[in-house]
């Protein structure tokens, strides 16, 4: 037995600094991956712009939006759907993170994350925050272009909307995390597109005000009101004009906490789905 074997490890406790370094490392990796995938950035930007330039322009003359809070006057349809498109960017970003988690699990990369000595809830929250940071940057890039398309909120709106974007990004990202724990194979991800992204987006106030939806279908109106994405859109819409939508804030914060809590549970080494199914193999 070599003498050196006597020098077993002596290790400092993981303090606040170490936790912050871990968070920074996870965010840095997410940013690097995003930069390496230029197609991802372009598609994240093109998607809402297509809606803004083509869909909204076409519907501009068909759909009139009457004066509803937070707007103080009649607004162009482009202006109305801009918050919905901002939320859409975050919805896709959240699902993209979910896809990346499933991919990492299949490729084995997730093991490196999960066997970090930091608590698993902390690792998942860090991963979530990293995804939120990327999605917020995407939203601001979209807003920069949208400004030239007459989406011109008051200047303070750009700042006021930031907390709303962070919170809605956390809710949608946490939903993505939760879904990633439920999806066993990458191939099943198409189902997420069909059963999560599209219904969430269309059955919300992103494209039409809820009073208009109610006029045409009470059932659809009720579905929209049960859809947390509706509240994310409204939270962003109000914040964009410097106003707070209390009920939307409550729903979005509550859903973010719920989805994150369920994700932590799903990834828990003792109770989670990985433990029961032997995932991350």
């Amino acid at each position: 037995m070599p003498a050196i074997a006597e020098t077993a490890p002596a290790i400092r406790p993981l303090g606040l600094g170490a936790h912050l370094r871990c968070l920074r490392g996870i965010m840095w990796r997410e940013a690097l991956r995003f930069l390496h995938q230029r197609g991802r950035f372009v598609s994240a930007l093109v998607r809402p712009l297509v809606w803004l330039f083509i869909f909204a322009a076409g519907f501009r003359s068909v759909l009139g939006v009457s004066i509803i809070p937070p707007y103080e006057t009649y607004v162009l349809y482009e202006v109305y759907i801009a918050p919905g498109l901002m939320a859409m960017i975050q919805l896709f970003a959240g699902m993209q993170s979910s896809l990346a988690m499933v991919y990492d699990r299949e490729m084995g990369n997730m093991r490196i994350l999960l066997m970090s000595p930091f608590p698993r809830w902390y690792l998942l929250t860090s991963k979530l925050l990293a995804g939120v940071a990327v999605s917020v940057l995407q939203v601001y890039a979209f807003l920069l272009i949208a400004w030239f398309w007459e989406v011109e909120p008051p200047l303070y709106g750009y700042l006021a909307v930031l907390p709303a974007l962070i919170l809605s990004g956390m809710m949608l990202g946490a939903l993505g995390l939760l879904l990633s724990s439920l999806i066993r194979q990458l191939e099943n991800f198409a189902g997420v597109m069909n059963f999560v992204i599209f219904p969430m987006f269309f059955a919300s106030s992103a494209l039409y005000p809820l009073w208009r939806v109610q006029e045409s279908s009470v059932l659809l109106y009720d579905i929209c009101r049960l859809n947390p994405f509706t509240y994310a859109v409204e939270l962003i819409r109000f914040a964009f004009y410097g106003q707070l939508n209390g009920p939307a804030l409550g729903v979005v914060a509550g859903c973010a906490a719920l989805f994150l809590g369920l994700s932590v549970l799903a990834y828990d080494p003792g109770r989670g789905l990985l433990a029961r199914r032997g995932g991350a193999e």
């Binding site: 037995m1 070599p2 003498a3 050196i4 074997a5 006597e6 020098t7 077993a8 490890p9 002596a10 290790i11 400092r12 993981l14 600094g17 170490a18 936790h19 370094r21 871990c22 920074r24 490392g25 996870i26 840095w28 990796r29 690097l32 991956r33 390496h36 995938q37 490729m107 084995g108 990369n109 093991r111 490196i112 994350l113 999960l114 066997m115 970090s116 000595p117 930091f118 608590p119 690792l123 080494p269 003792g270 989670g272 990985l274 433990a275 029961r276 199914r277 032997g278 991350a280 193999e281």
Partner: protein
């Protein structure tokens, strides 16, 4: 920087005499109704190279998943230098370095970026992480290639990077799950020699999962795992003697009750 590292190494001298590098006691696990591990017990002392020998499906990867706390076991206990993996996961995981069977490097990132990510996941400061990465890459004979994308490396080089990464946070126990799968003979020998040196010269406990008998030497410990059960464990010569066989290959065949056709049996007349 070095002073800080040295100071860190002095902080808890009580641990210097702690138990085995790895201790697994009566570990059982099942996925649903399918039991994959049955009361598995084994130990790896510091400075020892221990081969976990078993065919595909023996339960090696599940055992590794439990040791690394990807999920918890249903019953039994795992301790790394006396730290229970379930009760003190941070203490246990910080002493543990792992090379998984499947490649776990991010192919889109460079070697240094992969190492920096791992260092961050262990809370290392940037300067410390860079110094350690440079030292480990030098030891892996990959100095000067830190900026290269992992995608451009050969299989053997990727394994060397993975070993460098596993050592970055200075673990005292190294787990390797069939690390030579898919490598040519030269790369296999190189990695095996590298890991043996870590055990011999630096006192790391090593658990090396394999189904290749020719990767095991006379001075090693061996644990024969078959269908989730430990059939025999101890120094190679003791296992051979206990099985009443002329060599390890024959001992494995006798213990498992299998004959002909598997790598674990064919690999040698050792």
């Amino acid at each position: 920087m070095q002073d800080r590292v040295k100071e860190q190494d002095r902080l808890d001298p009580a641990e210097a005499h702690r138990d085995d590098a790895l201790s697994v006691e009566s570990l059982s696990h099942a996925f649903g109704k399918r039991r994959v591990l049955h009361a598995v017990s084994l130990r790896v002392p510091p400075g020892r190279f221990c081969a976990l020998l078993g065919l595909n499906g023996a339960g090696k990867t599940t055992l590794f998943s439990l040791i690394t706390r990807l999920y918890n076991s249903r019953s039994g206990r795992i301790a790394v230098f006396g730290h229970d993996v379930r009760r003190e996961p941070a203490q246990a995981l910080r002493r543990l370095g792992v090379v998984f069977q499947n490649r776990t490097l991010d192919l889109e990132l460079s070697i240094s970026q992969n190492l920096a990510y791992h260092a961050a996941l262990h809370g290392l400061a940037v300067g410390e992480s860079q110094a350690r990465a440079a030292a480990e890459l030098s030891r892996a004979r990959l100095e000067g290639r830190a900026g290269e994308k992992v995608r451009n490396l050969s299989g053997g080089q990727m394994r060397r990077v993975e070993i460098a990464r596993a050592l970055l946070h200075r673990p005292r126990l190294l787990l390797l799950d069939e690390p030579t799968v898919g490598l040519d003979i030269a790369a296999r020998a190189d990695i095996l020699a590298r890991v043996r040196a870590l055990a011999r010269e630096e006192g790391l406990g090593v658990l090396w999962a394999t189904h290749l008998i020719d990767e095991i030497e006379d001075g090693d410990d061996v644990v024969v795992l078959h269908q989730g059960r430990v059939l025999q464990a101890g120094p190679v010569q003791e296992v051979i003697a206990a099985a009443g066989a002329p060599n390890l290959g024959a001992a494995f065949a006798k213990l498992t009750g299998l004959a002909g056709g598997t790598e674990a049996r064919d690999a040698g007349d050792r």
